[in-house]
Every structure is written in structure tokens, then in C-alpha cells.
Amino acid sequence: MAERINPVSDNSKQRIAHGVCVAGPMTVHTQDGVIRRVRPIVLTDDDTPGWVIKARGKEYTPQRKFTMSLLGYCEKDRTYAYDRLKYPMIREDFVETPDGKNRNTENRGKSGYRRASWDEALSLVTREIKRLHKTYGRETITACTSSHHSWGLVGYKISLFNRFFSMMGYTRIADNPDSWEGFHWGTPHTFGYYWRLGGPEPYDMLEMAMQNADTIICWSSDPDTSRGGYSAQESALWRWWMKEMGIQFIYVDPFNNYTSVKHADKWIGPRMGTDAAILESIAYVWLTEDTYDHEYIRQHGHRFREFADHILGRGPDGTPKTPKWAEELSKVPAMDIKAIARRWAQTPTTVGSGMRGGFGGACRHSNGTEYARLLVLLSAMQGMGKPGRAFWGPGCGAPMNYNFWFGGYSDPLASIAKAPVADDVPMNPVEQVLYRPNLPDAILDGHYEWYGEGFCGGGIDLEFTRHVYPAPGYNKVHCFWRYGGSFFGTMLDTNKWAAMYKSPELEFVINQDIFFTPETRYADVILPACSNLERTDIGEVGSSGLGGYCSHSESGNSWQMIVYQDKCIEPLWDSRSDFWIFSQVAARLGWGERFTEGRDEEAWAKRFWQFSDLPKVMSWEDFKKKGYYVIPVSFKEEDKDPETGLYRNWDRRPGFNWFAENRACDTMNHKVFQEEHLLGTFSGKFEFVSESLTYWAPDDEARRPIPQYQDSWEGHKSLTADKFPYGLISPHPRFDYHTHYNQHAKWLWEVPKNRVLINGNPYLVCHINKHVADQKGIKDGDVVRLFNDRGSVLCVARVTYRLWPETIHAYTSSGIYNPIRYGERDSWDKGGSINLLTPGRLIGDYVPAMAPYSCNIDVEKAEPDPNFGQGWEHILDEVDKQQLETQRPIRTSADADLVFGEQETLILNLLAQRQAQEVL
């Protein structure tokens, strides 16, 4: 191996640029065209003063910096990652047959690649598109992107990707609301808010809680980990403020999660999927002890008496939902349930699920809709919207300026595919649609039917639209264009995806990505895109946009920050920006001018500035020069505190307070009927018996008119429980984002609760209860196999008391899928791709939602031969191959790290030993 020569850091030679990633905004220092370091954005005196919240005799104001999460600090490691796609590549045994048959598709996932020029790769792609269009029509190409493998209004999926494919015409793949399934399909039937996908209003709730709440319940919520979605660690300090002022924190989660172990005054860990039963029994305590808000329910409740009868055992099932009944299901002692029920009733209490209140793993369970609906109903029973009594997650709701317009990432008005940013607005001519969770079923079986639009923010009725694939009059899909990220880590029963890719039904597969992800390996043609830091874009941190489903999600930040995402370095190797790639294909298809409208990326970025409120406060040149703008919480001088200069007043609109206090609705993103004091349900009230479900889906087995606990189709009472006795909890990860970091940024493998390196393989960590571990002879640091009928995943055990013996914890969405035999169903995975184990089954016939929390597994100690089969090395092989072929002109700080040589192996081994020595 070549001797390592490191460049010498010299601050006087450095250029400073700015960027945004899912971990927050960043300041990027470069030296000689190479990234030197990635820092947070630290505010200067030129930037706006912050807000100040007065609560319980003290004043609280945020730090003058934007607190990036650990993933952001890995951005340099990720940019120069060993698994970057460096050149266009074509599968070695791909044959461009004129009829699309006999293309060795069964070898996808196994075959190697050869390097191609851009011209060769793009010519092939264009020829294939023309052939496919001629043979089958435009609908035969489908395409899909993951969420946020890069950030920015130009490059994001609803923008650039949408523009290209709408212009070309394609079979769209509808996303399922995978992070908030139970709320999306559940709570609109209970309190409306379908336009927020069943989530609560976050507005000004931080101040409301700091001043009024005495108890905060985080149900299925780990806010330090979920970070308000895209708000980095901004809210972490708020929770310390609240903790230190004496607010009691209650955490309900089968895993005593990372926020819980630091903050919880009380943690209870129910058996998987029994949350609804606990909520029903809390209602039982309130009903029998008469400690709910009668007046509120009388005014705002619909058919409450029938719900009460059901809870008290006077309903058709005749079972009183006592704490003892809940204890038998959940294993949470009845005395603890009663104590929590009383605390909730007696003190001003907020309750929320998951990162922004309407999320959380518990809603990704076969009983998830019922859990979500009950959570909302119980919040209503205690006067939702009254001071300190709220449905709210403590990872959002900071003071913000509602009157400054800048587009967010899911904003219908903030896309280069839409007006006003685009002059030429393309309309996809294809009406056929596929559904992401069942894409493999549709391709493999050639037929699939389901209800619902994926995201049904336009109205409850959209949940009940019926779809058939192939749609009448349309041809089936024969080409898949995959764009960014890997679904092997995030979709369920992922072995199905491998099977799909091997099918000859897919005549042509394109993968356009930055990294050689597990899914990239199944493509016929690989188009290497550059990273966010190698192209120009613009974006606001954490903002999903006013029209977006989590509107005002940037209230998860202490600061509202719009960033000019500067091109920090030139695209590495032969990678190109996604915009360049799509423009080239468009040009070869004959509509290049129409696609670009003569603009480059910077010109498109400027259009977002132009159609926002930003020009009122900053010229384009100043904005580019400074790199960011922080929106003041108010523009009025008189709102400032004369002594400190901090904003003590702003346009306050506390979420749902208008409803509780019978005022006209004053919160943002509301519907006309709310001004008449009605909710978005049929009755306009909290529906304890849902009229919409009674009307549309009286035979729905997953959702009953009265929400209630039901045994899961895969849970502790199902047939597989004897064979696979443990429930798997697989929450959204703390040390990754979707699948976007863990495979690429090797520094993350050194976080001991994330991964453990053994023989050079970074095994995912799983948590196992001490008693189970003792029974099975498993010690902390052992390699174990988690398995069921669907697959096997090797992990490293962390032995703990942080969960009860019924449950095993391992994070979902592993970026690494590393089966010992690639693409084979019975092959063990060394990468930690936990979704090999989770069921592909949807929650119900009318609820096309995934339910990874309904998953039974078993565990055993495993001692895999580190040398057998195809291991981690398959990726490195490909990288090596590219190395040999390259005469690389650019110098990067990571030159020495592109190949894992002897030194690295040695270090990996040393590291493995070091970590193996750690004992609990």
C-alpha cells in the first residue's frame, strides 16, 4: 500500500461555503478544492436576535448556532467514501437484445460491472427508452426515489425528478406514509386533520408547555433520536430546560430509548403492539374515577357514551378494559397504569407519539391505527388545546415567523416541475400507478390491487379509491429507474425486492445514485451522481413547506434558516449532478431545451429566491455571499426586549388552543370549516365512534368504528409465537438517516451502540434483555442470529435491562445489506438489514400501510465463519476494479483510504478486539 501522505491544514488558504443535509445546515471549509472540515453554522452579530421564552420565573433563549447532528459531521467521510460511484458502469453480462428478452436478469445482484463512458451509458439509456416506448408505451417505465438522499429545492424528488419523469411520462410509484402509518390511516377518522396526515398542530407549543405543562408523555417517542425529522439536535436543549424546571417526563416504549434513559421519571415498556390496550385502560380509570373533562366532551365529543360503554364492558364484547386486563396483554403492572392515568388527569399533561407528535413506531403495527386514534381521543378527554393539555411531541413547536414565505421540500409551489418556478409545467400523461410497499408483488405477479392514494392529504375519501395494476388499457412495467438511496434497508420483507430485480419482467434497470448501495448492485446501467456538496442548490432547513403535510415543521428548529447550498467542490471522479444527467437524457430524447428552459442549477435556485419573501430582505448577490439568512421571529422593533434585544413578542398562535377556548381558528394551514369551529370529521367533532369508517368501511377488520385493541396478525398470540417468541422492535435509527449514512461513512461504525467491527465486518447492534441472553448463553459482544421464516440477520448483541424479556431491539433501515449469498432468500445477512425479517403484509384490506412492529423472531448465538461466502468484500471488489482502471487526476484528502489495505484491516481488527473487551 502506498504511504499515506496527508495534506497540511492551512486556515489562511481556505474557502468557506454552506450546505444542508438531513443532519442540519453546515459550514464547509475547503482547501485546494478539497473539503477540509464541516462545521455547524454559528450565527454572527449580523444575524437576527433570538426569541426568549419566559417560564416559571426564568428566561430561555436558544444558543447562537445551529446544532448539527453527528451525521453532518460525517459529511466529509461520506463525500469521499470508499463506496462512491465513480464512473458510469454497465453490468458485465448485460446483453442489449432487440426484444428485451434473454438479458441474464437472473444474474442481477451477482454480476460484476464494466466501466463505461458517459456517452456509452447515456446512449444505451436513450436507445432503451425509445425501444420501450415504441414497444409498450410510456407507462412501461417506472421510477422511484427515496426521501432525502440529498437536500435542496432544485434537486429534491418532487422537483427535479418530478420534472424529468412528468415530461417523459411514466408509471408513478405512490409512496406510503411509512413513518406515520397509524396516524395517517387512523386519526383523520377521529379528529380530521387529513391535510396534516393525522398529526397535530405544533404551533407555539413549546412555550405553551414550558409555561403550563407539568407532565409530558412521550409515547413511542425518542425525540433526541428522531430530531424533529430534519431539525438536527435543535430541540435537545429545550427538553433539558423542561426537565430541569421540574416537568415530569413519562416514556412509553418497549425499548427504554435514548431520550428516555436520560430524561424519564417513569418508563414503561409494553409488549409490542399492546399500546392500544393500555390507552383503553387509562380511559377506564378516568371513567370510573370520573376524572375526564365532561364539559369539553359534551361540547366537542361525538357518540362518547357508546365509547364509554365499550370501555366499561357494556359493549358487545362485554369486557371491561380494566388496568388488570391491560396488564395481562401488555405485561405493564396495573398499578403503574393507574398511576400514569391519575398523573395525566390531575396535572396539565401533553402527550405525543414519535417525532412530531403523530409519528412513532407504535403506529407502524397491525393495531397502529387504533393506537393512534385512542391517543387522540384520550387527549380530547383531558381537554386537548387547553393550556398545558395538548397533543404534541416535544421536538417541534418553537416560536417562528408564520408570515415569511419561503418554499419547503414538499411544497406544491416550490418545485421546478411546477409554476411559478417553472414556466413550462409538465403533466404526466400516464394515469397508471404502482404502490411502493408492493412493487415487487406487482412486478412478480403481474397484477395487484389496493385501496388508497398513498398520501391521502386531499381528503378522507382518497383512502377508499381502488387501484388496479395494470390499469385498464395500460401495459405492464418493464423498466425501473431507481434514483437515490436503497430500499433494501427500509422496505419490508426485502428479499422480495431481490426476487423482483431478478425477474425477466424487468427488461432494463437503471440506477442513478451517489453510492454503490445494496440496490445499485441490481442495475443494468449505473449512472454516478455527485453529492450535495458538489452542486448548487437552495433550501430551508427542516422545512417541509406551507403546503406540505407537516407544514411548519421548521418549528423543530430554534432558528429558521434559508441556505444557499454552494457548490463546495467539483464533482468527484466522473460523477455528475442529477440535473446534468437528466438534462443529457432529455436532450438525447429531443426535449433538452424544454427541460432546462435554458437554466443551469444556479439559475433554477435563484427562481426559488425570486418567488419568495427573501428579495424583500436580501439581494441574490448578498444572499450568495453570506450563504444563509435567518428569518427573524418578528420584524417589529417593538417586539424586542429593550434591555436584552431579544424578541419577547411575536405572532403567537398556540396549536389547537383556539378550539379549546372556542375562538375563531387562528392557526396556519387550516380549512374553512375550522373557522366555524368544526373539525375535519363528518360530525365536525371528536368522533369516539367514527362516522366516516361506518360509512365507507363498515367491514374493515383493522379499523372498527370504535378504536380498540386487537390481537395482531403477528404478535404474542399468533401461531408463529411458539416458534418465534420475541417481538422485534425496529425504530427509526439514531445513527443513520433512512439508508443514507451507515454504509458510506465508516466513522459511524465506531459508535459502540451502532455497529461493532469484527473481522472487518461492521455488524449492526441489537439489544437483548439480560435474562434472555443468560438463557441462551449470549454474552455482550457476541454475534447472534435474529431469524424467522422470512430471513436471518447477524447482529452483535448488547445485553441490557433496557427492554423486557419479550422484546429484541435492532434499528431499521440499515444502509448495509450484505448477504452471504447475494439475493438469495435463505441467506444470512451480515449487514444488519433488519427488514429482511419484517412482514410484507399490510395492516388491513383498507389500510395499505406497513407494519414492521408486527414481527416475531427468535435469536440464537451464531459463530459464522468470517471467510465463507460473499461478504462485505463484494463492494470493495467493485471499488478496487474501478481503482485499477483509473488514472485519477484529482487529489483528495481521502486518497489513501479508497482501498482497504493491510493497515485498515489491522486497525479494524484492533478495534474489534477493543470492543469485544468491553463488558456490560
Binding site: 499515506r4 496527508n6 495534506p7 497540511v8 491544514s9 486556515n11 489562511s12 481556505q14 468557506i16 477540509r36 464541516v38 462545521r39 455547524p40 454559528v42 448556532k65 446544532t67 453527528l70 451525521l71 459531521y73 466529509k76 467521510d77 433526541d224 439536535q233 435543535e234 435537545a236 436543549l237 415530569q248 427504554n256 435514548y258 431520550t259 434513559v261 436520560k262 417513569k266 418508563w267 415498556g269 396495573a334 398499578m335 403503574d336 393507574k338 398511576a339 400514569i340 398523573r343 445513527f735 465508516k746 466513522w747 461504525w749 465506531e750 451502540k753 467491527l757 434483555n769 441490557t800 435491562y801 433496557r802 483510504d897 493497515q903 485498515e904 489491522l906 486497525i907 479494524l908 484492533l910
Partner: protein, 289 residues
């Protein structure tokens, strides 16, 4: 205050506020991996942790579990063992208290790494060089560097790491130290250097008091007293709304008597409860007097 004007720049680590988010850990790698500076050779991509996070699980029962996390960079000791072990100025303490391993002079001196009582000095076999945290002195010294704090401090979202002049009683860092309990790492002397650890927890004794089992009710307001059998130290509290009690931060390695009293019920006493580690005493079901 200007970073260059500090007499004794240092970091206070308020471990109570650390949530083990690893932002400091990654910021340190970002700063020091892949690049040489006048004060250090590059940190290897894997295997060294100049800002290490030492974590342990607290508790022995599912009903009461916490975690401790202690960011552990070089302590920049008042009287550094590595400097004593070094030859030819391979390691030295600057007038401002920052301890630096000279990347040229320290070549071959494995003793420097071996001398560190908290294992914060790492041995780089490839370069034949001991390496460690520089407190980002190379950045603080440099007028061209636009930041004001060491990278780990700048990265901390919780103000668990606070940077400033330890010799200025009015600095934020001095005020924080004055208001909290200084808890030196095991193996280090009482007198801290330029890195000061605060509030590293002792052990807790916790438990739950409930009415007779068949009632399925926690008991709120029961009086619980713990008394150290060796020193006689005693503390009391009442059970909270959840029927729980928790005596936090007791001295480790002691034996305790736990007394539980509630009007109308027989008093309960447990003896020999140890604080070798954080301990959950159990659920106490009261009996009618």
C-alpha cells in the same frame, strides 16, 4: 473574550447534560482525520478516539434504568504523566496549560501513550507516534480560523461541553464549575487540569412502594430513608406520584439500610443493600399494621 487572550483555556464537561449523541466525537474526527497540523499528525481514519465517550448502563432491574455518558478527551492534566514519561520534549505543557505531544519529537516514544492513566493517548503503529487531543489549540492559536471554540464544544447541542478561560472567575466556564460538583475521572488527581469533569454520577438506590399486592395500587407519600451502614450518612424522601423513590448520586461501594414507613402500615426495613453499582431495591408491598 477573544480566544487568543485567554490565560488558561479549558473545557468543563457537565456529564449530567451529555446525551451521548456523538456530535463531539464526530466533529473531532472531522477535524483531525486526514489532515496534519503544526501540533499533530492526522488522526487515523479508524481506531483512535481523541474525544472518546465512555458510557455505562446504570441499574440492575428493568424498572429503573439510566445511562451515564462521560466525554473523555485528554484531561490536559495539571501535572501530566505523559510529560513526565516523555524524553526530549516529546510531550510538553504550554504556559496556558494545554498539553501537546510534539509530532516530530515524540516519534518512537510509546511510553508517552502508556503513561496516560485514562487511556486518552493512542499509539499510532504506522507512524510510530503517540497521539491525542490538542484541545484544538492549533485552531485557537490561529487568527485565520473563524471559530472561537474547540470543535467538540462547538458541536455540543446541550451545553454539556463549555469552553472558556478557567482563570477568569467571570467566564461561563468558571461559573459553571463553581455551581456544580467537580468529579475527577478515576485515576486522575483531585486538582483538575484544563479539562474539568462535572457531575459524574455515583450510584443510585431506587425502588417502588405499593399497597398490599391485591390492591394493585402504588403508594404515594411513603417515607423512605436510606442510611449508610459504614458512615451513618442518611437521606430521606417521599415516594412520588408513581410510588417510586430514588436516591441519586450516593457514594459507591457502600452498604445501606433502607427504611420504609407509611401511616397505618407495618414499617419495612432492608439491610445490606450495596451501591457497588446502581441498584433497584424492588417493589415493596406494604402490609396493614
Amino acid at each position: 473574550m477573544l480566544k487568543t487572550k485567554m490565560k488558561r483555556p479549558g473545557i468543563a464537561i457537565n456529564t449530567k447534560r451529555c446525551m451521548a449523541c456523538y456530535a463531539c466525537f464526530m466533529a473531532c474526527k472531522d477535524e483531525h482525520c486526514g489532515w496534519d497540523t503544526p501540533l499533530s499528525k492526522a488522526q487515523p481514519e479508524l481506531g483512535q478516539y481523541w474525544m472518546n465517550i465512555v458510557e455505562w448502563e446504570r441499574g440492575d432491574n428493568e424498572r429503573r434504568i439510566k445511562t451515564a455518558s462521560v466525554p473523555t478527551p485528554c484531561a490536559h492534566c495539571a501535572d501530566p504523566a505523559c510529560v513526565k514519561a516523555a524524553k526530549n520534549g516529546g510531550a510538553y505543557k504550554r504556559p496556558d496549560g494545554i498539553v501537546i505531544i510534539d509530532p516530530e519529537k515524540a516519534v518512537g516514544q510509546k511510553e508517552i501513550a502508556d503513561a496516560c492513566p485514562i487511556h486518552a493517548v493512542y499509539w499510532n503503529a504506522e507512524l510510530n507516534l503517540p497521539q491525542k487531543c490538542t484541545l484544538c489549540a492549533e485552531l485557537l492559536d490561529d487568527p485565520d480560523y473563524p471559530g472561537f471554540e474547540p470543535r467538540c464544544v462547538e458541536a455540543c447541542p446541550n451545553q454539556a461541553l463549555v469552553f472558556g478561560d478557567l482563570d477568569d472567575p467571570e467566564s461561563n466556564v468558571s461559573k459553571l464549575i463553581a455551581a456544580n460538583k467537580v468529579t475527577p475521572l478515576e485515576g486522575l488527581p483531585e486538582k483538575p487540569g484544563n479539562v474539568v469533569h462535572l457531575n459524574i454520577p455515583g450510584a443510585f438506590l431506587a425502588g417502588t412502594v405499593a399497597y398490599p399486592q391485591e390492591l394493585e395500587e402504588v403508594c404515594i407519600g411513603a417515607k423512605v430513608t436510606v442510611t449508610c451502614e459504614e458512615t451513618g450518612e442518611s437521606r430521606s424522601m417521599e415516594t412520588n406520584w408513581a410510588g417510586d423513590y430514588e436516591f441519586e448520586d450516593l457514594p459507591k461501594g457502600m452498604t445501606w439500610t433502607v427504611d420504609i414507613a407509611y401511616d397505618g402500615f407495618k414499617p419495612v426495613r432492608y439491610t445490606g443493600e450495596r451501591t457497588d453499582r446502581d441498584h433497584y431495591v424492588g417493589i415493596t408491598y406494604l402490609e396493614k399494621a
